[in-house]
Symmetry: C2
Subunit: 368 residues, 2 copies
C-alpha cells in the first residue's frame, strides 16, 4: 500500500520527496546550481535557500541559455477555484522573483477549462468567474503587463489550434498511464493535458516551469512530444516545489476543501488568529513544565514549518527559534503569535493590493 499519493489532483499522506524524485525521474537542485544562480541573481530566494523548491529538470540548460544570451522564458499556472490560499500564491511569488532577477517574459496559464472538465458540478461560467478572481489575486503580487501574459484557456482564441498540435502526439494509453484516466473519463479531461502543454511553445526559446512537483507528469509528456511540434522545440525545463502542508499536520497539502486547513488570501486578521490557535499542529509537549524541561520538536511543527518555508526570511532568527524550541526556551503560544503577526502583515499588504486590481487591469494581461 502506498504511504502517500501525489497526482495533479490529489496529494495525501506523508510525502516522501526523495522517493518522488526517484519515481518521477527528476533531479535534485544541486548546491552547484544554487551557487550559479546566486552568482547571477546576487542572492537566493528563501524558497531556494530552504529547499522548498528542491527538484528540477534541465535547470542546467536554462542557466546555459541565460549565460549564452539566448535567454529563456517562464511559464507557470493556476487551476482556478476562486478561493486561493497562501500555498497557491507561493509558486507565483517565486516565479516573480525569477522573472525580475533574470529579466524574462512570463506566461501564466489559468486553467478554467480543466476545472470545468474535472469538477462535475461547476459550469464554465462558474470557472470563468473564479478565473477572474484568481487572476486578480495573482496580479496583486505586482506583475507588469510588459513582460507578463495570461492565457485563460477558455478565453484565449488560440487555445484549440495550439493544443491540437500537441494532442496529435499524445494517445489515450499515455494519459491512462500518466494520469490514471479511465474509460469513464470524459473527453474534455482526456484532451486537457494537451492544453497544459500549450505555453511551452509560446517562444522559440528554452521554457522553464516553476510549479509544485505534482504537476510534473504534464511536463514529462510535454518533454516526450515537444520535438514533434512545429519545427521542433527544446524540452521544457522545470523546477519543482514541495507542498505547503495543511495547518492540521505535516501530511498532504493545504487544501481549500478541508475546513480549517488553510490560510485563505481573504482571511481577516481574526480568522487567521483563530485558525492558527485552533488548528495549527505544533511539536510542543503536553505541559509548559514538560516543554521547559524537554524542549519542543520543530521538525514535527506546522507553525515552525510555515515560518521556515514562507514567513521567516531571516536565517539567523529562524535558527535561533529552532534552538530556543529545542531548548525549551520558547513556548508554542509564542511561536503561534509570531506566525499570526507575520501572516497578517503579509495578508494585509496583499489584500490592499488585491483591492486595487480592476477588470481593466486584468484585461491588459490577457492573451487574445
Amino acid at each position: 500500500m502506498a504511504e502517500f499519493e501525489v497526482t495533479p489532483w490529489d496529494v495525501s499522506g506523508h510525502v516522501d520527496y526523495d522517493k518522488l524524485v526517484k519515481e518521477f525521474g527528476t533531479d535534485y537542485i544541486t548546491d552547484k546550481q544554487l551557487k550559479e544562480i546566486e552568482a547571477i541573481t546576487g542572492d537566493l530566494h528563501i524558497y531556494l535557500r530552504r529547499k522548498l523548491f528542491y527538484s528540477q529538470r534541465d535547470l542546467d540548460a536554462v542557466l546555459k541559455a541565460h549565460k549564452s544570451g539566448k535567454g529563456f522564458f517562464l511559464y507557470t499556472g493556476r487551476g482556478p477555484s476562486g478561493d486561493m490560499h497562501i500555498g497557491h500564491l507561493m509558486p507565483f511569488i517565486f516565479t516573480k522573483w525569477l522573472q525580475e532577477k533574470f529579466k524574462v517574459n512570463l506566461y501564466i496559464q489559468i486553467t478554467d477549462d480543466e476545472k470545468f472538465a474535472f469538477k462535475q458540478n461547476l459550469s464554465l461560467e462558474d470557472t470563468r468567474k473564479m478565473a477572474r478572481e484568481d487572476i486578480a489575486n495573482i496580479l496583486a503580487l505586482g506583475f507588469s503587463p510588459k513582460n507578463t501574459f495570461i492565457m485563460q484557456d477558455s478565453v484565449y482564441t488560440q487555445t484549440y489550434p495550439k493544443a491540437l498540435e500537441w494532442s496529435k502526439y499524445i494517445n489515450f494509453s499515455t494519459t491512462k498511464a500518466v494520469f490514471g484516466f479511465e474509460n469513464a473519463t470524459n473527453i474534455a479531461s482526456i484532451f486537457y493535458p494537451a492544453v497544459q502543454c500549450v505555453p511551452i511553445t509560446f517562444e522559440e526559446k528554452q521554457c522553464l516551469i516553476p510549479s509544485a512537483i505534482d504537476q510534473d507528469p504534464y511536463w514529462r509528456i510535454a518533454r516526450d512530444v515537444s520535438h514533434k511540434i512545429g519545427k521542433g522545440y527544446p524540452k521544457t525545463a522545470a523546477i519543482h516545489s514541495k507542498f505547503i502542508p495543511p495547518l492540521s499536520g505535516l501530511e498532504g497539502k493545504m487544501s481549500s476543501s478541508i475546513e480549517g486547513s488553510t490560510i485563505k488570501l481573504n482571511d481577516t486578521p481574526k480568522e487567521v488568529k483563530n485558525k492558527i490557535n485552533k488548528y495549527a499542529l505544533t511539536g510542543g509537549q503536553n505541559t509548559v513544565e514538560e516543554q521547559r524541561k524537554k524542549g519542543g520538536n520543530p521538525e514535527g511543527c506546522v507553525v515552525f514549518e510555515y515560518l521556515k518555508m514562507l514567513m521567516e526570511e531571516d536565517d539567523k532568527l529562524l535558527e535561533e527559534r529552532y534552538k530556543n524550541c529545542k531548548g525549551g526556551k520558547v513556548l508554542c503560544g509564542e511561536c503561534k503569535q509570531y506566525l499570526i503577526e507575520k501572516l497578517n502583515a503579509f495578508l494585509s499588504e496583499h489584500q490592499k493590493a488585491r483591492a486595487k486590481i480592476t477588470d481593466k487591469d486584468i484585461n491588459k494581461f490577457l492573451l487574445k
Copy 2:
C-alpha cells in the same frame, strides 16, 4: 463477417441501406413527409424524389417547427481534403435547396482539425490550406453570406469553449463504442466528436443536419447530450443520404484516394471523358449483338446510377433510358457519352463559378 462497413472514416462493400436504418436506429423518409415538404416547397428536389436522401431523425419536428413559425436552421459540413469530387458536393447542393425553400440560416463546418488529427502525415497548415480550397468550391454553388456562416474549426475562436461544453458529457467509453476508438487513438481524435457537435447549438432553434448516413454516429451522441448543454437544446434532427458509388462499381463510395474512382471538381472535359470510358462499370452485355437481344441491366450500372442520382433531373427521360436499356435499344457507349456531356456541362459551370471566388469572398462567410 460483415458484408459491408459504414463508419465516418470508411465505407466499403455493398451497402445495405435498409440494414443501416435498422442498425443506426433511424427512420425512413416517408411518402407522407415528402408530400408535406412538397406542399411547402412547391416541388421535390431530385435527391428526395430519387431517394438519395432516404433516412431521417426527427424530420417531423423540423416540419412542425417550420409550420409553427418557430423555424429551424441547417447545419452541414465537410472534412477538407482539397480534392473535392462530385460526391462531396451533393450534400451542399441539397442543403442549398433546403435553405432557399425554407428561407433559413445555414452553418457549414469545415473540419480541418479532424483531418489533421486523423491523418498522420498532414500538418495543420496543410489541412487549413485544403479548407480554403474546399470552401471556395462550396461557395461556388452560390451561397449568400447573409444567411450562410462557415465555422472553420481551427480558425473559429469559439471552437474550444463551445466544444468543451459537449466534451464534459461524452466519455471515452462512448467514443470507443460509437467510433471504435482504441487506447492508441490520439487525444485530438478522441476530443473531436465534441467539436462536430458544436454547430447544433448555434441557434436556440431546432437544428436539421443533412449529411451522408456515415455521419449519423455523431448525431446519435449529440442527441444524447444536447439537453445538458447550457439551458438545454432540442435533439438535433438529421436527414441522411446514401453514398455516390465509385466509377468502378456499386460498392463503397466515391473516394479521392482511389485512382479512377472519382469525378473531381477540377477535372478537365477530357479527363471526365477518359475516366468514364475507361473506369465506369456498366450493366451491359459482352457484345453489341447480345445487348440488342437481351438488353442491359441498369440496376448494375454506375452510369445509370449517376444519371439517376445526380445528373438526369427529367424523370421521363430517365424512365425512357431505363426502358431502352432493358429493351436493348440503347448501348452502353451512348449512355456513357450522355453522362460525359451532362457531367462536363455541370463541371464547366462549377469551375467558372469557383474561379470567381476570392479570399475576400471566403472571409465574408467565416465565423470569427
